[in-house]
């Protein structure tokens, strides 16, 4: 039986609490942590093989939307699915995020099963090479 490939997830989020939450909830994914958009871009440059990006909107230095626009503008990263997880839950916020290229939008507070469902849909489990 083939082992399932571990998903590599880049988390761009300024809250330490939510980083810890992902660490517990997304076990056994391999998580790469960034605390704002700028750091997110740097981590992405070092790890261009991430399977999915989980992104907050309100962050210092560079907002989630700015980060997303930069990611989508780079052909090497444009195909990586991005899930926005934010407290910004108005219709226009969701529309703005999806327009900028997010594959899914989840409002905080969120349920673990909803996040897992979205990641499972965007990054189906693959057999390890």
């Amino acid at each position: 039986m083939n082992a399932v490939k571990t998903r590599k997830v880049l988390v761009v989020e300024d809250s330490r609490l939510i980083h810890k939450m992902y660490e517990v909830m997304l076990r056994p994914c391999m998580l790469i942590a960034a605390h704002d958009g700028r750091e997110g871009l740097a981590r992405l440059g070092e790890n261009p093989d991430v399977d999915v990006i989980i992104l907050d909107i309100n962050m210092p230095h560079m907002t989630g939307i700015e980060f997303l626009e930069q990611v989508k503008a780079k052909p090497e990263f444009a195909s990586i699915p991005v899930v926005i997880v934010s407290t910004e839950g108005k219709e226009e916020d969701v529309a703005r995020g999806l327009r900028a290229g997010a594959a899914a939008y989840l409002k905080k507070p969120f349920q673990r099963e909803d996040l897992l469902k979205i990641i499972g849909r965007l990054v189906p489990a693959q057999a390890a090479p």
């Binding site: 809250s15 609490l17 939510i18 939450m21 407290t87 409002k107 905080k108 507070p109 349920q111 673990r112």
Partner: protein
């Protein structure tokens, strides 16, 4: 049986002989008997199968119902696991630091990200006085008490919770409070977390949120208390070290 008698099989080239005829008749009878046996076996099998069919259908339907029940239970268990993870992370993070500012920031993160509060305030009794200070305020709280830096009473829900240490839900007349969570250390109420508005997409506080509110009531205050004690001790230590250095120099 047909194979066993193949060498005795009658062929048109055989001479008409009573013995041959007899053998042929015997062979035909055996073949007929074998055919009858096979047919009757097949009839019995078919009858058994058709008799078992309703029972099998019943078992299949039962298995399907059990599968659905299991799937539902699995979803419930998954949901419970998620809730427990949330509580674990909140507790872990509250006690992960001994810096009072970090503990306050964690309380705010829990209130915003895990409870979905848009407007709230953290009221805490001063370290050396009995004055209740508003240590943290998020969003514009539409109440007179929220304008200043201290809380001197005036909201019926907050006042009651500070007095008896019981968590209270709004609405109440003359109060914009949705919920007030008394923060307690060793049975002493040292402050309250007051939520006045949730995010638009969070319609109301659910039963599950109650667990998180209770957790905050119990752990937020003790984490703050521990961090304050540590900070005070660290301050004293630094002062003493400074004094010792001065004495040594002198």
């Amino acid at each position: 049986m047909a194979d066993a008698t193949r060498e005795n099989r009658f062929t048109p080239d055989d001479h008409i002989d009573p013995l041959v005829t007899l053998m042929r008749a015997r062979q035909l009878i055996h073949e007929a008997q074998a055919a009858i046996e096979e047919v009757s076996k097949s009839v019995v099998q078919q009858r058994t199968a058709s008799a078992e069919l309703p029972e099998r259908e019943l078992r299949l339907a039962k298995a399907e119902i059990e599968r659905e029940e299991l799937a539902q239970r699995l979803a419930e268990v998954e949901h419970q696991v998620g809730r427990l993870m949330t509580l674990y992370v909140a507790t872990y993070q509250l006690h992960a630091t001994l810096d009072p500012a970090d503990v306050q920031s964690t309380i705010a993160e829990i209130t915003i990200n895990l409870l979905g509060a848009e407007q709230f305030a953290l009221i805490l009794r001063g370290e050396d006085s009995n004055v209740l200070r508003i240590r943290l305020k998020e969003g514009h709280i539409n109440a007179a008490w929220a304008e200043g830096e201290t809380y001197s009473g005036g909201d019926p829900l907050i006042d009651a919770s500070l007095l008896d240490g019981i968590l209270r839900f709004g609405p109440a007349e003359g109060s914009p409070v949705l919920v007030t969570v008394p923060l307690r250390v060793q049975d002493v109420t040292v402050g309250a977390l007051v939520i006045t508005k949730l995010f638009e997409h969070k319609e109301k506080l659910e039963e599950e949120d109650r667990e998180l509110l209770d957790l905050l009531g119990a752990h937020a205050a003790s984490a703050l208390f521990a961090s304050r004690v540590y900070a005070r001790a660290a301050r004293k230590l630094r002062t003493l070290e400074g004094l010792i250095k001065l004495v040594r120099k002198g």
